[in-house]
Symmetry: C2
Subunit: 306 residues, 2 copies
């Protein structure tokens, strides 16, 4: 099993590359991360961005950590992105992604991605506008895969989200999206499936199951996000959490059965900004231990770094 | 009483200026807003940003809405800002604020602001680095008030937050902060006090009271944020909410007693991205009604727009 961590847990608390790298390697015992743009905004002007990116890359090297991908966090998810109702808003998002790809390459990552956009309530309610925005999204993705290739990236990861105004949000839509992009992309587009998104019951109903995503989109899945959830919110909780119901071991079994054990799975916990730092550190440590045991089958002894 | 709404409720759902302006004026019956940079990122390149800002300004004019200030939302709060441990990170934040001030002026706002920064866990634990970063923050604020004045703004609003790594976070620190800035600023720096921040019990204890903030920092308060909260999280819930405990009418009485009835109070509700749009619309409508009744003393009849 291929298990790593999204650096969301480090945001604002442990932003120094040498600090989060040491935490990842020595406290959490991990060697693969997904960088989050919440630690360094792709909009950041030069020469500051380049110098900060170089420090990230060096710290990862120093601690023997692979930055496999660089991913959108909370900040970029606040905007409508490539599905913004205003063409100017969509153009802004295209520019953001081009900068994100350049930054990903500077970090030494092979892939970049995130949720790609949300329609406004008004646009989503109008079938013709929905269709126009969807076509525009395909064009933007095509353009962006050229930029990703030019930056030297190997994959563009599109995250599936639990909102009917976003694309893609169902197995069916994700399958159509991948089919509609066929033959248009300079680097492969793959899906990132977050277990808490996929099992959000207010949208998908009480019978939502991960196997539907694994069977329906498995060949296109480029990464997973792991989180603890009550299936009633996009929770991004850790373990233990009295509210959480997600069974990591059962998911691991499904992933193995689907032949997707090689796909990277990143723990992505999002803590309230105001939560005490020591609480966050304890939670991320116990969460990684839980996932290593349940997802990778590692005993606590083997989970320790060499 | 001076009551308006922060546009946080509109983020991603109702981003079109004519759509949120109609909602604010006709559905919510309000005529004063605080714009959120979560609707338009100050980093956005030209000419897109300018054209989108012009549409915001025109929509506000069309609907008779005053944009009193433009404020940081969730996106900018993801970063350590003016207290970032890396000088490059702090410089990026200074540039962001300069762009934010230009955008605020383009929107026709008189003021701009937000939380200004967070120290990393490592920096906050080191008294000498804390002091250095605090001095650096004062310098940055001084520089930024020059930029604010150049942009034509009249006030810079600094938000108090419920984190000991951020500045300012207590009545004492806020008072010292204002005192340390005295005589250095080209436009007045004022405090924005959020009731849910000020009453966060895990940090301030069970005896935290709004009157302490009103008495201790009253002369420096430039705006309030209103939210419903259980005092155990920075909740940003609306009304009704079975979890919420904040008494708006009692707060209104305290504000009047403190002679601060003229200070703008903005309802700032932050809904989960995945929450159903109709649920959000119902909640923001009932929340505004609640605050108009409890904060302004308006009956439901008088709360309707003319």
């Amino acid at each position: 099993m291929n298990f790593g961590i999204n650096l969301s847990f480090a945001v604002k608390r442990w932003p120094e590359p040498l600090v989060w790298a040491r935490l990842v390697r020595e406290t959490l015992g991990l060697s693969q991360v997904q960088f989050t743009y919440d630690l360094l905004d792709p909009w950041s002007p030069e020469p500051m961005r380049r110098s900060m990116a170089a420090e990230v890359r060096q710290a990862a090297r120093d601690f023997g950590i692979t930055i496999e991908s660089a991913f959108s966090g909370l900040a970029n998810y606040c905007y409508d992105g490539l599905l913004h109702p205003d063409p100017a808003g969509r153009r802004i998002s295209v520019e953001w992604w081009k900068r994100a790809f350049d930054l990903a390459a500077e970090l030494g990552a092979e892939a970049s991605g995130g949720p790609v956009g949300a329609m406004s309530t008004a646009a989503a309610a109008d079938p013709q506008r929905r269709e126009q925005l969807y076509r525009s999204l395909l064009d933007s993705i095509e353009e962006l895969t050229q930029a990703a290739a030019a930056a030297g990236l190997k994959r563009f990861l599109v995250e599936c989200t639990p909102l009917a105004r976003e694309v893609p949000y169902t197995v069916e839509q994700a399958t159509k999206f991948m089919s509609d992009l066929k033959g248009r992309c300079q680097v492969p587009v793959q899906l990132l499936v977050d277990v808490g998104h996929a099992l959000y019951q207010p949208l998908y109903g009480p019978n939502a199951r991960m196997v539907d995503w694994l069977r329906g989109t498995g060949q296109h899945i480029g990464a997973f996000h792991l989180q603890n959830t009550d299936f009633q919110s996009d929770s991004h909780w850790g373990w233990p959490d009295s509210r959480g119901l997600f069974d990591v071991a059962a998911f691991a079994k499904e992933v193995r059965s689907a032949g997707l054990a090689h796909v990277p799975a990143y723990l992505e916990i999002i803590y309230p900004f105001e939560l005490a730092d020591e609480t966050v550190l304890a939670s991320i440590t116990s969460s990684v231990l839980h996932c290593r045991q349940e997802y990778c089958g590692a005993t606590p002894e083997r989970a320790r770094p060499a």
